[in-house]
């Protein structure tokens, strides 16, 4: 009997030992033999490679530091482990530990942004610009989806303050001549607003952008085509930023819909300037991008320093200073402006006033996410 127990104990010891060693040795071997990748599409960044071996690096401790970065970036089954951790946090009751809430019905919702006291500064930057500008200035501020989709948030989620910021922007703008604030509070308040955002991405959908565009046209007295006038095509399998940040990998992908006004898109010529390189294209929709996981770059090829859209339907020239929310709005705006110049100040280093002086724009439009206005360090207009 005693011997029997002892034997059992031995078997258990052997199994535990074997599994432990198998796990760490397999990890080690995979590290050595698995091909290393340079770029992580989920994280949108380049990964660390094997560090440089030199006496100086080793002595200063830089080698060790870089080597650990290399290990961290090249971990086998990386997404699997991050995903396990995300779900484990969820089980522990810590929804949102990775910055994104797993909401109801598969909605991944970014936690409210930390207002890092940038809002007042950016507000002043924007209103000063609007006040001093000789051109008409329009501002569109897009709320985060969490501020709207309250029914989809988990219990115990933090408060969203987007509409308080929007209210403040509205108040400041109403006193400025020649300036227009497109207040999205009303147009975004209906039940249909869930179609205005992606479940797996923080951006608005073309539906959302269209709702904002319609409101803009209403305020401006422009005629906006009705939804039925667009060729709408949906593409499945879109995993956006909310998905890749949080790694809730069991979430179903979104469909991404393109609203194409073929009368405009057929006339359009898009010029993308990145550094000294410029590339041209004959559509605002970059359909090869639909083969990637993050399909949002289908709109105007994603983030670029400067993008010019020329349709020549009229002679109005719009300067569009923006973040990525503008990418799916711009195709609608091309129905009203024969020429649109999009500038992304996260990359553009030139002075905006000089740009306005040197090219003859008729109007300026600013499009940011509310979180961008409240946190960005790149908004310098004056």
């Amino acid at each position: 009997m005693k011997n029997d127990n002892k034997q059992k104990k031995n078997i258990k010891s052997a199994v535990i030992t074997a599994l432990f060693l198998a796990f760490i040795i397999a990890g080690c071997i995979l590290y050595i033999f698995l091909p290393k990748s340079d770029y992580s599409p989920a994280e949108k960044r380049y990964l660390s490679g094997f560090p440089e071996v030199s006496v100086k690096n080793i002595k200063s401790g830089k080698f060790s530091e870089d080597f650990e970065k290399f290990l961290a970036d090249q971990t086998p089954l990386r997404t699997f482990f991050v995903s396990v951790n995300s779900y484990f946090e969820l089980i522990k009751g810590n929804n949102g530990s990775n910055g994104v809430y797993l909401g109801k019905n598969g909605w991944l919702i970014e936690k409210p942004f930390d207002s890092n006291n940038r809002f007042d500064k950016n507000l002043k930057e924007i209103t000063d610009f609007a006040r001093e500008s000789s051109l008409p200035v329009t501002l569109i501020a897009v709320p985060e989806k969490g501020a709207l989709l309250k029914n989809y948030l988990p219990k115990n989620s933090l408060q969203y303050h987007d509409f308080e910021y929007i209210e403040q922007l509205n108040k400041e703008f109403s006193g400025i001549d020649n300036a227009l604030f497109v207040n999205l509070t009303q147009p975004f308040s209906g039940m249909e607003n869930r179609a205005y955002y992606y479940r797996t991405d923080h951006h608005w959908t073309s539906n959302g952008a269209y709702a904002a565009y319609r409101e803009f046209c209403r305020l401006k007295g422009f005629a906006a085509p009705s939804l039925a006038d667009y060729d709408v095509t949906s593409y499945p399998g879109f995993y956006g930023t909310s998905y890749s940040t949080s790694c809730y990998t069991l979430t179903k992908p979104d469909d991404i819909s393109l609203f194409v006004n073929s009368q405009i898109d057929s006339k359009v010529k898009v010029t993308i300037a990145e550094g000294k390189k410029t590339t041209e294209s004959s559509s605002m929709f970059f359909t090869p991008r639909l083969d990637e996981e993050d399909k949002y770059t289908v709109f105007l090829d994603g983030n670029h320093t400067r993008v010019d859209i020329r349709s020549g339907i009229n002679s109005k020239k719009l300067l569009l200073i923006k973040d990525s929310f503008a990418h799916c709005l711009a195709p609608f705006l091309a129905e009203q402006y024969g020429e649109i110049t999009m500038i992304d100040q996260r990359y553009y280093t030139g002075n905006i006033k000089n740009l306005i002086d040197s090219e003859s724009f008729d109007e300026v439009m600013l499009v940011y996410g509310v979180d961008g206005i409240a946190t960005s360090r790149d908004i310098t207009l004056n």
Partner: protein, 463 residues
């Protein structure tokens, strides 16, 4: 290098274990020494030479003491002065000069900024236990510098203890019996410690950070924060000791237990018999008893206790709060010794637990607020927030709610409840697969947590 890192778990440990067990026994110590130096040098490539120096000094001191009994006192004093001198220079020089400059405003002693070598407090105490024991003839001198070096730099306990006394492992250095049961015991202990560190201590630390930095923590938030810190420091430190003991087992060593459920203590004295046991024994054996212990009358006992506890406090760090923290426990222990323990015995058990926990937890407050994190000013405002009865903001309540399941799990895990359950079930037939599954879950979840900490979606594209 820390144990809870990808580098340790998937590079260092598998390579070391594989090579160690492939090598014949006689080469294992020298291989361990090389591995130890690599382990230490990974984070401290230059300061590894300092450890070499300490090893050499004490190795030769031990030999000299054994050879020339007549001069043994001189040799001991020289070696102790060098050991403590290095510790003083690297750990306390900045603290001493800062304070001298305050006392002597015209002296303008230039600030001495030296990097603190990791683990210096631990290995200095280990190395001194050797030389003192040789002097006292409690152990024989080690003639092999490789074995001696292996003892001092043994990677499992090198950077965070336990403080292993030489005589406790002297025979194991020469002859140890690695076997699969011991190895499996080591794996269990290592995973237990890893789980404590990664799955409990780290999130408790996040909870403490978030509550401490909250703009309106309120009394509840401050209290829960302090509770979280109490759990964090216990799981962090005892987890590290468990990992060290487990790794020792994997290499055939057996180290003494270092933490024995300190939070179930019924007095502060009991707490210190259960917390960081190897440090307590060290001070007892090499400071308190040589000072005369309790054999020289009440007054001397009190003085001895206060000296030992101030030193214990200072050992934890070069900052006034640590000295005060030590003194705080010294005073409580004196009061307990004089009359409180007797009085407490008449109370129901539950009151003794509450009494002990209150003073332990308040002690952590003193412990936490070192000069690096705001010192006494920060301690003051935290104390105000803790006792003011202020309301907590919704964000703070949210944090508390999110971490509540884990806090409860932490409280349960700091008692022997799970251990006794394990002891009752471990020989049951159905338990083996459960245990293996639990071990697998711990290692996968810990790896997931370590990998996640390094997962940095680059959010420039976000806005």
């Amino acid at each position: 290098m820390v144990f809870s890192s990808l580098m340790f778990m998937f590079v260092f440990l598998p390579v070391v274990l594989t090579v160690y067990y492939i090598l014949p026994k006689k080469y294992r110590n020298i291989f361990l020494l090389i591995a130890d130096l690599f382990f230490y040098g990974w984070g401290e490539p230059v300061l590894v030479s300092l450890m070499f120096f300490s090893i050499a000094v004490n190795y030769f001191a031990g030999l000299l003491i054994e050879k020339n009994p007549s001069k043994k006192k001189t040799v001991l004093i020289i070696s102790v002065v060098i050991d403590l001198g290095l510790l003083a220079f690297f750990k306390y020089a900045g603290f001493i000069t800062d304070n001298l400059n305050i006392i002597l405003p015209f002296a303008h002693i230039p600030a001495i900024i030296v990097p603190l070598p990791i683990g210096i407090s631990f290995y200095t105490f280990q190395i001194m236990s050797y030389t003192i024991d040789v002097y006292r003839e409690d152990t024989r001198a080690q003639h092999s510098i490789i074995d001696f070096g292996t003892y001092v730099s043994l990677f499992p306990q090198l950077i965070a203890g336990p403080i292993v006394k030489y005589r406790d492992v002297a025979s194991q250095l020469k002859d140890r019996h690695e076997n699969i049961d011991l190895f499996a015991k080591g794996v269990r202990l290592f995973l237990l410690g890893l789980g404590k560190k990664v799955l409990l201590a780290n999130p408790m630390g996040l909870m403490w950070d978030s509550l401490r930095e909250a703009s309106q923590p309120g009394s509840l938030g401050s209290f829960m924060g302090l509770l979280a810190f109490s759990l964090q420091i216990y799981f962090d430190f005892s987890g590290y000791s468990d990992m060290a003991r487990g790794l020792g087992n994997m290499l055939g060593f057996e180290f003494l237990i270092n933490f024995n459920y300190p939070y179930i203590s019924e007095s502060v004295m009991e707490f210190w018999r259960r917390w960081h046991i190897s440090l307590g024994t060290w001070f007892r054996e090499y400071v308190y008893i040589p000072l005369g212990g309790n054999r020289k009358g009440k007054t001397r006992t009190v003085i001895n206790l206060l000296i030992v506890w101030m030193l214990t406090g200072l050992w934890h760090g070069a900052s006034w709060n640590f000295l005060l923290w030590g003194l705080y426990f010294g005073i409580i222990l004196v009061i307990e010794k004089l009359f409180l323990l007797k009085a407490l015995e008449k109370l129901p058990k539950v009151f003794r637990h509450i009494y002990a926990l209150i003073f332990i937890i308040l002690g952590w407050m003193l412990f936490y607020f070192s000069d690096d994190v705001g010192g006494f000013a920060a301690l003051g405002s935290f104390t105000v927030s803790l006792f003011s009865g202020g309301k907590s903001s919704p964000e703070v309540l949210n944090t508390i709610a999110n971490y509540l399941p884990l806090t409860i799990a932490g409280i349960i895990a700091s008692t022997p409840l799970i251990r006794s359950l394990y002891d009752r079930l471990k020989d049951k037939k159905y338990f083996a697969p459960l245990e293996i599954a639990a071990a697998a879950a711990v290692i996968i979840l810990c790896t997931a947590s370590l990998v996640s900490a390094e997962y940095n979606p680059f959010l420039y594209f976000k806005f």
